[in-house]
């Protein structure tokens, strides 16, 4: 059997203890929540921490609640299954409900957590392999090596953000609550990402405890479309989250968002693409035209690389198709917002 490298396990019972452990061990510590990303990566010797810090015993960081101002607060340790099947999530944040329901397979959704998916390591066909495999190539830029096999003579790692939840949370203006040695802070999710596949986040040594989604308006619609070879288990080859908010009258698009994942190191927000829809009349030719134009613009703005498995030119071709489908799913969604994620 493929073995795990040796490590010790710490089981802190408070956020402060977690923070202290992370501070004490620095790069030698890794947080484990559901383990569905970390454990395979450790088996591949991509991570060889001395201490694995379990946050399973930390109280009050799991569960879904709606605060008095309508904010949806999801504990980072809430399993993907619990997020996907929560009626409040499906109603307030349909794109997130749909995206989490499409992550991996049934068992992994029961183990994996929303916090873990947000903090997912980037993925690449030259990286998510065993030590033997990577060593045969002299390793790669992301881990143990000096060359990138994706972009010949590339000096920057282009491993792809592959977390389905990320674009959905971006369309929802989510903020992330981190705890570190300097205490608690909130970070807008867009500010989490950096364009470096080696580590695509601005945060390290802190514990993500909560994902906060501000109340969505009554006319909010959201959807997530995922390209993958199999309808279970697989990571996204492309993921598109879309948001369309109708104005109070329900006539015109008040706001639109399109965010993509599985292209490059960071999930991307196509601001200009989504703006094309704003002000367009419901069920009108101009709205249809704007969706088409959005799709075309998405094609121009996306440049998938041969980083994750699969034909990157095909992934490029699918960007407009999936943007169109996600936007159409939003505008087609009925008044019952909980159906909005359905296609």
């Amino acid at each position: 059997m493929l073995r795990l490298p040796k490590f010790e396990i710490a089981r802190p019972t408070s956020i402060d203890e977690v923070v202290a452990l992370l501070s004490e061990h620095g790069d030698d510590a890794q947080i484990i929540a559901g383990g569905t990303d970390l454990v395979p990566n450790m088996k591949h010797e991509l991570f060889t921490p001395k201490v694995v810090v379990s946050i399973a015993d930390v109280p009050d960081i799991a569960g879904v609640r709606v605060e008095s101002d309508g904010t949806l607060a999801i504990g980072a340790m809430t399993t993907l299954h619990d997020v996907a099947s929560d009626e409040r999530v499906r109603s307030i944040a349909p794109a997130l409900g749909h995206a989490t329901a499409l992550i991996s397979g049934p068992q992994l959704r029961r183990m994996g957590t929303l916090g873990g998916n947000v903090m997912l390591d980037t993925r690449c066909q030259w990286y998510n392999q065993t030590h033997f495999w990577r060593k045969s190539l002299g390793y790669c830029l992301k881990k143990d090596g000096t060359v990138c096999h994706v972009v010949q003579s590339g000096q920057k790692c282009v491993a792809a953000a592959s977390n389905d939840s990320a674009p959905a949370l971006m369309t929802l203006d989510a903020t992330l609550v981190f705890h570190g040695t300097d205490g608690r802070r909130e970070l807008p999710i867009d500010d989490l990402w950096r364009a470096d596949g080696i580590y695509n986040k601005h945060v390290s040594g802190e514990l993500l405890t909560e994902i906060r989604i501000p109340a969505t308006p009554r006319g909010h619609r959201g959807a997530y479309e995922k390209l993958r070879d199999r309808d279970s288990i697989d990571f996204p080859l492309l993921g598109v989250a879309a948001r369309v908010d109708w104005d109070d009258a329900g006539d015109r698009v008040a706001r639109a968002e399109v965010c993509l994942v599985a292209l490059q190191a960071r999930p991307v927000r196509l601001k200009k693409v989504a703006e094309l829809l704003v002000g367009k009349q419901r069920a009108s030719a101009e709205l249809d035209g704007a969706i088409e134009a959005s799709a075309e613009r998405a094609y121009k703005q996306c440049r998938p690389l041969p980083n994750i498995p699969g034909d990157h030119e095909y992934r490029h071709e699918m960007a407009p198709v999936f943007v169109r489908r996600a936007l159409r799913a939003c505008v087609r969604a009925s008044e019952n917002a909980s159906d909005a994620a359905g296609v």
Binding site: F132, R230, P309, D311, E313
Partner: protein, 793 residues
Amino acid sequence: MAARDKHGVDAPWSAGFQVVGRPSRKIDGLAKAVGHAVYADDITLPGMLHTKFLRSPHPHAKIRSIDTSKALALDGVHAVITGECMPIKYGVIPWTPDENALATDKVRFIGDEVAAVAAIDEDTANAALELIDVDYEVLHAFLDPDEALTRQDPQIHEQSEANKKKRGHRGNVSKHVDLEFGDVDAALDAADVLIEDEYTFHGTTHAAIEPHCALAQASPDGLLTVWSSTQITHYVHRALARVLEIDASQIRVIQPCLGGAFGGKSDPFALEFVVAKLALLTGRPVKCLWTREEVFYAHRGRHPMQMRYRTGAKKDGRLTGVDAKILIDGGSYSSFGLVTTYYSGQLLTGPYDFPAYRFDSTRVFTNKPPCGPKRGHGSVQPRFAFEVQLDQVAEKLDLDPIEIRRINFQGENTQTVNGQRITSNGFMECLDEVERASRWKERRGKLPRGRGLGVAGSMYITGTNYPVYPNKLPQAGIQLQADRSGLVTVFTGGNDIGQGSNSIARAIVAEELGLDPMSVRVVAADTDLCPVDLGAYSSRVTFMVGNATIDAARKLRKLIVSAVAEAWEIEEKRVFMARGEVFDLESRNRRITTREAFHLAEERYDTLGTTGAYNTPTLGGDYRGGTIGASPAYSFTAHVVEASVDEETGRITVENCWIAHDCGRALNPMLVAGQMEGSAYMGIAEAVMEEHAVNRFGLHAGPSLLDYRIPTSVDTPELHALIVESLDPEGPYGAKEAGEGPLHPSIPAISNAVFDAVGIRLTHLPFTPGKVLAALRAQRSKNLATPVGTGGA
């Protein structure tokens, strides 16, 4: 063919079949259901060591030196071995022994085994691997079979000068077969239509869920016991004796419960030799469980083939001739490749009549994981090409695709153009069944664009009379033991790999002796206890083990019947066995239990036991290679696939697959259906999802069950198993194979269904969405360029 080999198609008793022909539980079903079944890695022996392999990081290199001293010095390491301790080459085909358990002089693909460590646990063994120093001289790596065909320097396998001359080839050729039956050029000249096209079949692998595992224990009296997840115990037994230079009588090979094989556990593998050698060297039991990644390197999967076919037909649809030229990418070793090369041509000559046929197949070596036999060995690829081409012929002649297959049906009790004997042949019924069940006549060509139906047919061997190593011994042997408790134990060398062959042996004995199946037990695949059987490959087990079992059971029955008749002083024909009892047919209240009958027979004949055997009749064409592909019976299959094509994404969804398969007689229809569904699933997966890909470095692109994508429950279409029973005159009660044939038509039927759906011909596998989109684009630009009124589909 001896009398022992042919038993007729009828039930043994006048009351008709009691067990055979009905769906029934498997002999090991409940043990598997509750977690009691013992697979190789479930065995742990006291003091057992664990083995890990050091593998080549280079696709092609000479080994200058190996230093194992640091590894050997590591605490907990008991032994480190390299190729020099087992220099004798082996190979499953005796004519092409080109493998070493561990590399002796060079490595031929990334993942080739170089050294092995036995240590107290896997962690220690892994740590020791890091301490082995190997000095390699890297050689040019062949990744492209076209280059391997023409470039001979360097040689992947060194060949003697004499051999080079004999082969008369340049390049790294593994095997070349060129056979012609009839005058193909004249036949194609005489055709009204001639279709010529190129087809590609990509590499795919078995991906049985159980990884390979082997265990060995050497006892002080010189007996070596090896447990292995093999599907051919007998060949492993022979290979161990050869490589370890130990008399076969001192080696015992046991196949525990097996977690799937599909051809991927047919070769002797490095781990079997290595655990055996290490057990001998250390005096400790030694186990090796390969990781999933290592299973991908071991491979022996479907050969990639580049195929060019030409098919001629008359206006009425009758074929005049078929001409094939095939380049086969063999990977780094021969494995079954000699047979593969023959099969790529020899198995195409049914269920249609080819008046003239030629094939020219060349297998080359490349520096990639070695290819071998995967379900439908060697014939799935040409079948794909030909069945698509046959659809192209039908299109050109404006014939219904099912009709053209009927028009060319070869019939039963006939001979193929390449000299193979066809006995039973239920292909026409298969076509009828899929046509009916799919509502073909109402729907084919009439569904909305984006959805279509496609058909394909095939035939496959039920075992072969070519026994891998030439001999006149039986291919299957059985021993029966009748216990005083009333229990009958069947001893069979046959390998139950999940297909249920032990259940079939039980059913046959129960049928023949009028026993409840629960009164029959089966001991299988243990070379110390069981008579030789050639193993689970070529779809031979039900047919050959089944016939041998009938043979042994009838001998036992004769002893019992005669003893009872003698005791009762009646004629033997009045003695009747059923439901665990023995009756007098003319005086029904005279009855005893089978157990009592066993006692009578044991009193009369001494300890009760019989043997049975099966061997094939003399078969095959009278030419070199004419026996390869010669089978005592052929199975026939037709599929209709209903597929939809998303023209935006290029994704093909197989919605339904109707599988009609002529299995002779379905001894257990539930198990037959399981084989049909599993075969169709595997073919569909190869067509639209799976690819065993090697990257530009010669490294397997994704050796995991995440990246090698086998379909999940939500990716698998509705599979409809329609059993056709032609009753073969030589099969056990008329049975033929069901485990491999039903894979073949899935793949071309999908291509043909896509043509019906959107009018594009997919001739290059796998049918990725990108290829579909490209073909749709080409179709659109062609339609734009075509004058109005003559546009395409």
